[in-house]
């Protein structure tokens, strides 16, 4: 089997419009969650989120592109441009024929749906723009990345709610690991921060009105974010031969299904995914120094996840660090694992552990070292990234310092 390394990373999210700005915000424990700004926000009871700010799509895309790109596709392309530029790859010939793009996404073009439903239902119009369908389809982002960068290998979108990106990256890893292709572009994106998107979430009554406080006893729900995280996964020898800078090694992954409940998480399902990722990566429990938690800030997730980690790691659970960066960038749903993988790269490459901000009161049911409020320097060789989705679909990735 081939070793798989990360040679490029890109992002845009509430913390920054690129990787360096995002990592700096994580190091400083900055919060990107603010009052939401979009049409009809006054009709929502949930009015906060991790929105991408100071964003001018017209500075990035021309008129023809704007007509075809929903916000989630725009974010994806911005992040992909950064990641592929960093990797320094140009896709042509044999490499282009084999390299593909597998992305996670849950909602598709929610803003496009929202605007066009409004136009036909509320405004009573009988005509919509011809590109509504190609704009809103879940695979639009993956397709546009393939077109912009000439990726002609296996490309598709994975949709497993909050685990979409982790499932996508696990799939991309497997393709490179198994020798199907030397390079895959992967990650995910989401943009549900529009009236209809937030209204739908409001209905479930799991959203916080005042902030995301994962693992804190006074947490009261999740806060949504938006954006994208994109990576270049490359076969090690391929990267080495061209002298590419290696950010981290992807060591393994596992997926599991709770087969239990459509919204309530399961300790067993989470535990099996964590254990499976370590087994796949041939790592010991004691190798793990950091876990980027799913850590949504809901009552149910955080206590279930803490119990799963305590169960799997036993005594070592008290020696590892676990944090939820959703406290800073919000929950990017189908894109969340991708942005969170950046925190894992920062842990193994830079030795900096992103904090769980908003942490106010210890919860005996989440009695782990959650790196409260302030980032920490630590020597970490292995980091895990957890994602446990609605529908009971779990995917955990293991990242290793490249050595």
């Amino acid at each position: 089997m081939k070793r798989v390394v990360i040679t490029g990373a890109g992002t845009i999210n509430a913390l920054g419009h690129n990787v360096p700005d995002t990592l700096e915000a994580m190091r400083e424990g900055r919060c990107g969650i603010r009052e939401l700004e979009f049409r009809d926000v006054d009709r929502l009871s949930i009015r906060i989120g991790g929105q991408v700010r100071d964003y001018d799509p017209e500075a990035r895309f021309n008129r023809q592109q704007m007509a075809l790109y929903d916000r989630f596709t725009q974010f994806t392309l911005i992040a992909a441009r950064e990641a592929i530029a960093q990797a320094g790859l140009v896709f042509s010939g044999e490499l282009a024929a084999r390299a593909g793009v597998v992305l996670g996404n849950s909602g598709g073009g929610m803003t496009t749906l929202d605007e066009n439903y409004r136009s036909v239902y509320e405004d009573g119009k009988n005509r919509v723009h011809p590109f509504v369908v190609p704009k809103l389809m879940n695979n639009a982002a993956a397709s546009h990345v393939s077109m912009e960068f000439n990726l002609k290998g296996p490309s598709f979108t994975v949709s497993t709610a909050c685990a979409s990106s982790n499932h996508a990256m696990a799939q991309a890893f497997q393709m490179v690991h198994g020798g199907m292709t030397p390079v895959m572009v992967t990650g995910g994106s989401e943009s549900m921060l529009c009236f209809g998107g937030v209204k739908a979430w409001e209905g479930l009554r799991v959203m916080s009105k005042d902030g995301c406080r994962p693992f804190s006893a006074n947490r009261n729900g999740m806060v949504q974010g938006e954006g994208a995280g994109i990576f270049v996964f490359e076969e090690y020898e391929h990267a080495r031969a061209r002298g590419a800078e290696i950010l981290a090694e992807v060591a393994g992954y596992a997926m599991s299904s709770d087969a239990a409940d459509i919204v309530m998480p399961s300790k067993q399902g989470a535990s099996r995914a964590i254990k499976g990722a370590l087994a796949d990566a041939r790592l010991n429990l004691s190798d793990v120094g950091y876990i980027n938690a799913h850590g949504t800030g809901t009552a149910a997730n955080d206590k279930t996840e803490s119990a799963a980690v305590a169960d799997v790691f036993g005594a070592h659970a008290d020696r590892l660090m676990i944090s939820s960066t959703k406290s800073m960038h919000g929950h990017l749903i189908g894109g969340t694992g991708a942005v969170e993988l950046l925190a894992c790269i920062m842990a193994v490459r830079d030795g900096v552990i992103a904090p769980t901000i908003g942490y106010q009161e210890p919860d005996p049911e989440c009695a782990l070292d959650v790196v409260p409020n302030v980032a920490r320097e630590a020597d970490v060789n292995v980091a895990l990234s957890n994602a446990f989705a609605f529908g009971g679909l779990n995917a955990v990735l293991a990242l290793k310092r490249f050595a």
């Binding site: 209905g203 009554r205 799991v206 009261n220 729900g221 919204v263 309530m264 809901t298 149910a300």
Partner: protein, 86 residues
């Protein structure tokens, strides 16, 4: 028109797939087999029926003064909300 109590019991009975006569004032939702999703659905149905907003967050059910511990407490909570909003 039937009383607030009967209408709330009707909604809860429908959610629990029970006859309204089997839903007593001292029943808890758990007794009736209503889980967290069923609870959120029941609250939605109650809001629609009475045109009120029930301050309920599934993450902190005890934090609002809307008490869901029994059918009686739910009925009392709805009566109070209706009185406040009228």
């Amino acid at each position: 028109m039937s009383s607030i109590k009967d209408r709330v019991i009707g909604i809860i009975a429908e959610q629990a797939v029970l006859d309204p006569s089997d839903v007593t004032m001292d029943s808890t939702l758990e007794d009736l087999g209503i889980d967290s999703l069923g609870l959120v659905e029941s609250i939605f149905a109650i809001e629609e029926e009475f045109d009120v907003s029930v301050p309920f967050n599934a993450n902190e059910p005890e934090a609002s003064d809307f008490d869901i511990s029994s059918v009686a407490s739910i009925v009392a909570g709805i009566e109070k909300l209706i009185a406040e909003q009228s």
